[in-house]
């Protein structure tokens, strides 16, 4: 007799409650696997996880830092999730982030010093939105015209943009007062977003507004409907008079605009253009969008969770655990949760069959 395992598709879709359970299960498994790695390196997993948690959520200051980091991750993720409605995979968030930060810097440096804040800050944020959208347009137009694979083109555009910013901050825009640090000069004071409460800045409000906006687009807008139809049933969309080019361009540019806004927020809160502006927010956005199943409200929470993991990673070093543990943990959580969520669409069946004689 032999046993055979098979994954079979489930006939009904799984409820939201069960998805949450499976995500939690995935995180637990990842923590267990990460614990083994920590233990093998001769450290105590419990101490390490305590330090990780304390660094991410353990104090008011830590939590504020986590919320601030959740803003760029969440903004990128929202844009990426919306584009994925139309079956478009935008992995160019990082480039769009930096191009948005670049255009925002250009405006922030060019405005006269006396520009009032109520003009200067929206101008910088708007510049970021437009810049990010324009950078995505470079991938969107060839996709709409010739069907150029946007996964590969947006990936290439990331590195082109990062090198462009590197050129600016070491060349034409290098601040002579910053010694040899590759920074641009600071943008005007009035264009810099100041902390509102404690160290918390206004970006969180933007993220909440954007979350509600994306949720509304999904719920009942014509555009949201067009995105989904052309993603799920391109033939039906064409028959119904939905322009595929318009969907591709609007979805990818919106996606880029959100990443550009994230870049402008980070620029406006730190004041200078530099290559350290993003530790990979554009890439994290992809991962968060997937972990959250692409839905707006879950993205808000998952980005806060992810930001906590990132923030907590810095405090690991204080407890003498290598901070690469936090990187490994990020990857493990992703893989395990992805597996748990994907496998929830299937059920495992065990077949017993008599051996052939």
């Amino acid at each position: 007799m032999s046993l055979r395992l098979r994954f079979e598709p489930r006939l009904r879709s799984v409820g939201a409650g069960e998805i949450v359970l499976r995500i939690a299960f995935g995180v637990l498994l990842a923590l267990a696997a990460g614990g083994v790695v920590i233990a093998m390196s001769g450290h105590d997993p419990v101490t390490a996880y305590q330090a990780l948690f304390r660094g991410g959520f353990g104090s008011r200051m830590a939590f504020e830092g986590t919320l601030n980091k959740a803003v760029p991750i969440g903004l990128c993720a929202l844009g990426i999730a919306l584009a994925s409605r139309a079956q478009l995979t935008n992995i160019g968030g990082e480039g769009q982030f930096y191009f948005g930060a670049f255009t925002a810097t250009a405006i922030g440096l060019a405005m006269p010093e006396a520009t009032p804040g109520w003009i200067a800050i929206p101008a910088v944020l708007m510049a970021g939105i437009i810049g990010g959208g324009l950078w995505a347009l470079i991938a969107a137009v060839p996709k709409a015209l010739f069907g150029v694979n946007e996964i590969l083109s947006t990936l290439m555009l990331n590195y082109i943009c990062m090198l462009w910013v590197g050129y600016l901050v070491r060349g034409p825009w290098a601040d002579p007062m910053a010694y040899s640090f590759p920074y641009s000069p600071p943008i005007i004071d009035n264009a810099q977003m100041m902390p509102l409460v404690g160290s918390l800045h206004g970006g969180l409000l933007l993220l909440i507004v954007a979350t509600i906006g994306v949720a509304l687009v999904d719920r009942g807008s014509r555009w949201g409907y067009e995105l989904r139809v052309s993603g799920d049933a391109p033939e039906a969309a064409r028959y119904g008079g939905i322009s595929a080019s318009a969907v591709i361009i609007s979805a990818l540019c919106f996606s880029g605009a959100m990443a550009g806004l994230a870049g402008a927020v980070e620029l406006s809160t730190t004041g200078r253009l530099q290559l350290g502006l993003s530790p990979g927010y554009g890439f994290m956005g992809i991962l968060v969008a997937w972990l959250a199943g692409g839905r707006a409200l879950p993205i808000l929470f998952v980005s806060i969770f992810y930001a906590g993991l990132l923030n907590g990673g810095f405090s690991l070093q204080v407890s003498r655990v290598p901070s690469s543990i936090s990187t490994i943990l990020q990857a493990l959580i992703l893989i395990f949760v992805l597996a748990a969520v994907t496998l929830s669409q299937y059920r495992l069946r065990i077949y017993r069959s008599e051996a052939q004689s």
Binding site: I91, N149, I151, R170, I286, S324, L334, I335, T342
Partner: protein, 308 residues
């Protein structure tokens, strides 16, 4: 600077890219979109360096790196081929995993030196050839091996039955399945082989070229290799051209920086591989060229027998 020296340096710069790109080519020909390449390269680099410095033997170190790359990609294949997880997200996650694991494993070895260096070849007659001698035949053996591999893989794909099966695997896996060839098993095989080659590219950097271990030392070369494969439209001969072009730019940049006489800012030189790939990507989507140069049709699609 002499042209021979520049070319010789270019081939050394091209070698890690070439190994990684050939590995990537095998995986993508099999229909798997492998965005974990940077991670596998780092795993190879750290394994190669650590094992070489512990065992004292470069050969042992390089073999260990190839094995580690195979294991790493087998895990990736388990996720995307068996469990059918999303290839883009899983690839990025494995890329992060490789970066984290390599930093973790290598932290005790940062800044250490290897006991010996890879000796250069000195093939009796060939090394005395006027131009080709110093450019090709006085390099370390791994440079030569990379270029030999280009020919081997090219012939394998175009002239052998397993090569034909590999091409079909990325174009139309259901066809293979219908004649009783195991699609899943073959995807595992090429993921593992490709992972070994990618890791060898990383190990070449840490064991032969630099030779040292620094966190994140591949510095985006995995992504360049990925770009080179697209630039080459999945053809081994053009992969070699792409890698050598990258090597030339890299060697020129290094010398121009050292001598302080650069005509073009190095940032723009570094952009070249990505810009060229983008242009090729757009150019090959034009209707006339599309049939010959497009990506494998099943690239990135998990194979599910019940949903074909």
């Amino acid at each position: 600077m002499s042209i021979e020296l520049l070319l010789a340096a270019a081939l050394v710069s091209a070698t890690p890219i070439l190994y990684a790109a050939l590995g990537q080519l095998l995986i993508e020909k099999a229909g798997v979109l492998n965005l974990s390449i940077e991670g596998a390269m780092l795993v190879g680099a750290v394994t190669g360096f650590v094992v070489t410095s512990l065992s004292g033997s470069m050969v042992v170190g390089l073999v260990a790196a190839v094995l580690a790359g195979g294991v790493f990609n087998a895990a990736f294949a388990f996720c995307v081929v068996t469990l059918r997880l999303n290839q883009v997200v899983t690839g990025l996650a494995f890329s992060i995993l490789g970066a984290g694991l390599s930093a973790f494993i290598g932290q005790a070895f940062v800044g250490k030196a290897l006991p010996s260096q890879m000796p250069n070849l000195d093939i009796p007659l060939l090394a005395d050839l006027p131009f080709l001698g110093p450019v090709i035949f006085k390099q370390d053996p791994l440079v030569l091996l990379a270029f030999v591999l280009v020919g081997v893989i090219s012939l394998f794909l175009s002239r052998t039955r397993p090569g034909l099966l590999l091409r079909t695997l990325g174009e139309s896996p259901q066809t293979l399945d219908s004649i009783g060839i195991p699609v899943i098993g073959l995807r595992y095989l090429y993921s593992i082989l490709g992972g070994g080659l990618i890791a060898l590219g990383g190990a070449y950097l840490s064991v032969v070229d630099t030779p040292t271990w620094v966190e994140n030392m591949t510095a985006g070369r995995g992504w360049i290799a990925l770009a080179v494969v697209i630039f080459a439209s999945w053809r081994p001969g053009w992969v070699m051209v792409g890698a050598v072009l990258f090597g030339l730019v890299d060697a020129y940049r290094f010398r121009a920086q050292a001598s302080g006489q650069a005509f073009i800012d190095p940032h723009f030189l570094n952009m070249l591989p990505y810009v060229a790939t983008l242009v090729v990507l757009i150019a090959m989507s034009r209707p006339g060229l599309k049939a010959r140069l497009r990506p494998p049709a099943a690239l990135g699609l998990p194979y599910d027998r019940e949903r074909r």
